[in-house]
């Protein structure tokens, strides 16, 4: 049963829109799948390889801007941005990796955070390339119906899930976990830690960039404050994984459902709309103190908690 679970869920997700959901629900579904993709990619770097990145907005934004700039400069379809972003983000990740992967733990975290912020400022200032704060608008929408966007991102999600699974269960995955557990021990066992950390970073970055390029096509508008956002992209990425479950296959998916539902519910309550960060922050604090490995990671603990809660 467990072996077929991914296929069952994929089939279910593929059938859901055929029921005839309205445009708003389709939007939520698309966001949910997109955040699962970003969460899974972050999990590869942060969860398995132990390199906690606070700057995934940088990769997301570079992907989004690759598609946007290509469209704005050449006039061709922004969908070309998807394959192009793979190349652009991979190159970018190699350069960034060369700098930030020298650092460990919290220093790596802060360096990536700075990287995201720097890219935002750079994109705001390079007005002739990115349009600055005005942003880039995709004037011709490919489809009015959201369903095609949904199937595209669902395909990306399925491939990502499969890729993460293959990587994690291969030799590469064991190297990643070894690096996470003890980098010096991994190094002394003959693992080229810099090489494997670079691989993890590049893979993670490319997938996030792909989601960014999709975002440009789907939303039709990007500006530096949206795609390079620290709280709304980088931190939410971490939260998706932390809430769902670090270093688990289903964690990012669960986390993405919870985060998207939570943000939509909070937004719909009139007085609390602007307080969503307070709730996210408190959720983060609670999760870290009580379920440090997330819902999927601490599932047994959670079950036990609920059971003891019932008996007493």
């Amino acid at each position: 049963m467990k072996r077929y679970l991914p296929f069952v869920i994929l089939a279910l997700l593929a059938v859901v829109p055929l029921v005839g959901l309205n445009s708003y629900l389709m939007h939520i579904l698309i966001l949910f799948v997109m955040w699962s993709v970003i969460g899974m990619s972050w999990n590869l770097l942060g969860g398995y390889c132990g390199q906690v990145s606070f700057g995934h907005a940088a990769f997301f934004g570079v992907g989004a801007y690759t598609a946007g700039i290509f469209y704005a400069k050449t006039g061709l379809s922004a969908w070309w941005g998807l394959p192009l972003s793979i190349v652009a983000v991979a190159l970018f990740a190699l350069v960034i990796g060369f700098i930030v992967l020298r650092l460990r733990g919290p220093y790596f975290a802060l360096a990536t955070l700075a990287m995201g912020e720097v890219l935002r400022v750079t994109a705001e200032n390079l007005t002739n390339l990115t349009g600055g704060d005005v942003g880039i608008m995709i004037r011709e929408r490919t489809w009015v119906e959201k369903i095609w966007y949904y199937y595209i991102i669902l395909a990306v999600a399925a491939i990502t899930f499969y890729l993460v699974k293959i990587v994690v269960q291969s030799r590469l995955g064991y190297y990643f976990v070894a690096i996470r557990e003890d980098q010096d021990a991994a190094e002394s066992l003959g693992i080229n830690t810099t090489l494997y950390k670079t691989i993890a970073l590049s893979l993670s970055a490319v997938i996030t960039g792909l989601a960014g390029a999709f975002y440009t096509n789907y939303m039709g508008y990007i500006d530096p404050k949206v795609v390079f956002a620290l709280h709304d992209i980088s931190i939410i990425t971490i939260m998706v994984v932390m809430v769902g479950g670090v270093a688990t296959f289903w964690g990012p998916v669960i986390g993405s459902i919870i985060m998207i539902l939570m943000s939509e519910v909070i937004r719909s309550i009139p007085m609390l709309g602007s307080a969503h960060q307070t709730f996210f922050g408190m959720l983060l604090i609670i999760i870290i103190i009580f379920l440090p490995n997330g819902i999927a990671g601490d599932f047994k603990k959670l079950k036990r908690l609920i059971r003891t809660g019932r008996t007493t």
């Binding site: 700098i99 650092l103 733990g105 990287m115 307080a275 922050g281 440090p292």
Partner: protein, 309 residues
């Protein structure tokens, strides 16, 4: 270089130097916490924002001068810091988890809550304290009639700088001359050894987090006469504190002072010659350069020389 160009250059250097004192104060708070607890406090800038709001409301409601509110805001921030350490960070140090960076992510959570609450309660308006002396300055030509160039020294900037130096000197005295200060430094160097020597490590950690918060709180009060205040300002100051700490060397107070001055001079040079918008980018440039060329910070240079002799 013509005289006006030299004037601009000198003026930029002076402004950078004065700002450096404040950056150093922010950086010292960070470096203390980092040294003793080995965690990065990503809520550092947000704590400064909280203290700036305290100073702002004291000024608006009671007309209290921001420089005097240091004596109220810093103790309040000390208590807040101790509370954060006791009720949030200590419990997290005890739980077992896959990622060791949980404490860092926790401080991000704290930062989000603080900045969002500030926005809810005080709206995201830009605020400042319109003190009477905000625009007054000393001019070089007033004191030296025949001066070939004209330089000015803003009074609030200078007062802030003097305050920052005084607080730093007081901290230095506390850390080197008192028993408690020595215990803090011992905890920072090797907490297990300190534990064996009878230092109450948990108490020292609380004290340090409180002290770091109080320092950044004091910096907030000194910043408000010369800067403006808005709820999301914390992030950039956290980054500044971190860059200062990296340049100076982790856990080194003297390094943080030099680091603060280097960063602020570099920043004011960028602002003068490249444009204000680029200042955050050069923070990253300084940061990367420091990591590549001086990974252990300025203090490593001093140490090397001492060993060489």
């Amino acid at each position: 270089m013509t005289a006006p160009q030299i004037e601009v250059l000198l003026q930029t250097l002076i402004a950078g130097f004065l700002l450096g004192g404040l950056y150093a104060l922010i950086g010292i708070g960070m470096t203390l916490i980092m040294g003793v607890m080995k965690i990065i406090n990503l809520a550092h800038g947000e704590l400064m924002m909280v203290s700036m709001y305290i100073a702002y409301w004291l000024f608006t409601l009671f007309g209290l001068d921001p420089y005097l509110s240091v004596f109220i805001a810093a103790p309040v921030m000390f208590l807040i810091g101790v509370g954060l350490q006791k009720f949030l960070i200590t419990p997290v140090l005890k739980v077992d988890s896959i990622l060791p960076e949980n404490q860092v992510i926790l401080t991000v959570g704290i930062a989000m809550v603080l900045s969002n609450l500030a926005m809810l309660f005080f709206t995201s308006d830009y605020r400042s304290t319109p003190v009477s002396y905000a625009t007054s300055a000393w001019y070089l030509s007033d004191h030296w009639k025949g001066s070939p160039i004209e330089l000015s020294l803003s009074i609030p900037w200078t007062v802030s700088f003097v305050f920052a130096v005084a607080i730093t000197a007081g901290l230095w005295f506390f850390l080197t001359k008192t028993d408690t200060g020595k215990s803090v430094r011992a905890t920072s160097q090797d907490f297990q050894a300190a534990l064996i020597m009878g230092v109450d490590v948990d108490r020292m950690r609380m004290l340090t987090f409180g002290l770091g918060s109080a320092l950044v709180g004091a910096a907030g009060c000194l910043f408000i006469p010369i800067y403006y205040l808005y709820p999301s300002m914390g992030g950039q100051f956290t980054l500044i504190a971190f860059v200062v700490t990296i340049i100076g060397g982790l856990g080194s107070t003297a390094g943080a002072i030099i680091g603060g001055i280097i960063l602020s001079i570099f920043e004011s040079m960028t602002a003068t010659y490249l444009g204000m918008g680029w200042a955050p980018v050069d923070r990253f440039v300084v940061f990367v350069a420091a990591l590549i060329f001086l990974p252990a910070g300025i203090v490593s240079l001093a140490r090397k020389r001492r060993l060489g002799k």
